[in-house]
């Protein structure tokens, strides 16, 4: 009995010591990790539309009941993939008479979605009633680069004309990307389209 006690005591001591160490490390790194994630979104937005200024931000809040609402008008669970929306404008001195209406204000949606392999988070740039560009923020699929090479980059460079549900390698990625873009477009059409004069 004594032997078992010694064995279990040793194991318990080592395990609790390691748990303590990990907990301390977690305290030290939790803030840098958070700022990293925020920075990634910020960098992504400025990479999507360089030269624009952030005007305002809408947060689609996750309530505890699993429903989503957002500030302008409560709309239930209509846009399940949306996280945040950012309204970006050109600085006033850059706006001239020749600037088209849709160039003056752009909207970036931060979206999230899942497929069988993992999670795909995107930044979707919507301007003038169409998805102009996409940017992958996180992608926990094992075939990550396949999605970007076969789909996202092709779309951004204009090789794909619409966001069809294409097969890209072994992923369901295209489907979730399409759903996220559809949500962003639907929200844009419902709330901002008339303001932009389309």
């Amino acid at each position: 009995m004594n032997k078992y006690l010694k064995v279990s005591l040793t194991l318990a001591t080592i395990a609790s010591g390691s748990a303590l160490l990990i907990g301390l490390m977690n305290l030290a790194t939790v803030n840098p990790i958070k700022t990293n994630k925020e920075n990634k979104i910020k960098d992504g937005i400025s990479a999507l539309c360089p030269g624009y200024h952030l005007q305002s931000q809408i947060t689609f809040v996750d309530t505890k009941e699993g429903e989503k609402y957002y500030k302008p008008e409560y709309d239930g669970n209509k846009y399940p993939h949306l996280k945040n929306a950012y309204r970006l404008t050109l600085p006033q001195w850059q706006v001239t008479f020749s600037t088209p209406e849709k160039e003056k204000t752009k909207y970036v949606y931060s979206t999230t979605g899942k497929n069988a392999y993992g999670q795909v988070d995107l930044l979707v740039l919507v301007a003038g009633g169409e998805v102009e560009k996409l940017l992958v923020v996180t992608n926990t699929e094992s075939y990550g680069p396949t999605l970007e090479d076969n789909y996202i980059n092709k779309y951004n460079n204009g090789y794909l004309t619409d966001l069809a549900d294409v097969k890209c390698g072994a992923t369901y990625g295209a489907k979730t990307v399409k759903e996220q873009c559809d949500d962003a477009l639907a929200h844009w059409t419902a709330f901002y389209a008339d303001k932009e004069g389309i």
């Binding site: 080592i14 390691s18 490390m25 030290a28 790194t29 840098p32 990790i33 990293n36």
Partner: protein, 254 residues
């Protein structure tokens, strides 16, 4: 197993680097070597984090080796290793986010890496702290150079370029060396020259590169052995000839 005597510190360090290289000679730790060597920088980063885990778990295991009862040796080692792996994971997520996202789950899988567990069982569990530290450093450096070499081969052949400073982005813009693929574009938007073979970025390419590297290492070892054998043989024959000559001399003198 291999208990180190006093005054052999140098050997416990140098063994891991070339003579008993964990990847190329002992053929251990294949999973990360195949999975994270798409580019030089991820491979090198993995090597660095791996070295840290190996050294610190070696030191702690060696410190605790007299306190841990024989029956629960392996679980205790695993807990120690898992602790350091989690710490490294958090560190990478906080301060090297690019590296963290490109390594993915393979950072967690360091817990079940054969090299780390093997060095704890075979070396650190039996030897002093200083020797275990040196052993960890040696094996870590050996593994790092081996997978970095693999990373260079796969990146240059598969992508055609060699990028430095993208993952460790502390010095501004990354440097892209055009080796097999030009970085300047012609009027159609295609690179000026492109000799890259994309299969080397795929899993199949990883297997091929590692197989050929192991074969090269085996060929070198075989060659060395053959040379040594030939030398021994020559020395024996020379000794024989000398004896014969002496005998002949002695015979002549009679």
């Amino acid at each position: 197993m291999d208990k180190i005597k006093r005054g052999q510190h140098k050997e416990s360090f140098l063994n891991g680097i070339l003579k008993e290289n964990p990847l190329l000679v002992q053929i251990l730790g294949l999973c990360p070597a195949l999975a994270v060597t798409k580019s030089l920088e991820t491979a090198f980063g993995m090597g660095l984090l791996f070295t840290f885990v190996l050294v610190s778990s070696n030191v702690i295991v060696s410190l605790l080796r007299k306190l841990i009862p024989e029956e629960i040796k392996t679980p205790c080692y695993i807990v120690v290793i898992a602790t350091f792996v989690t710490i490294v994971k958090m560190f990478a997520e906080a301060f090297l986010p690019e590296l963290y996202s490109s390594l993915g789950v393979f950072l967690s899988l360091l817990v079940v890496n054969c090299i780390v567990l093997g060095r704890s069982e075979a070396f650190a569990g039996q030897n002093g702290v200083f020797d275990s530290f040196l052993d960890g450093c040696g094996n870590g450096i050996g593994y790092t150079w081996a997978i970095s070499l693999m990373g260079i081969i796969r990146e240059v052949l598969g992508l055609g370029t060699l990028t430095i400073g993208k993952v460790f982005n502390f010095f501004g813009d990354p440097l892209v060396l055009p080796i097999l693929k030009s970085t300047t574009l012609d009027s159609n938007g295609n690179p000026l020259y492109d000799f890259s073979i994309s299969i080397f970025q795929n899993p199949a390419g990883a297997f091929i590169v590692l197989g050929l590297m192991l074969a090269t290492m085996a060929a070198i070892t075989n060659h060395k052995k053959a040379v040594e054998k030939a030398k021994e043989k020559a020395a024996k024959e020379a000794a024989k000839a000398e004896l014969a000559a002496k005998a002949a001399l002695a015979g002549g003198a009679k």
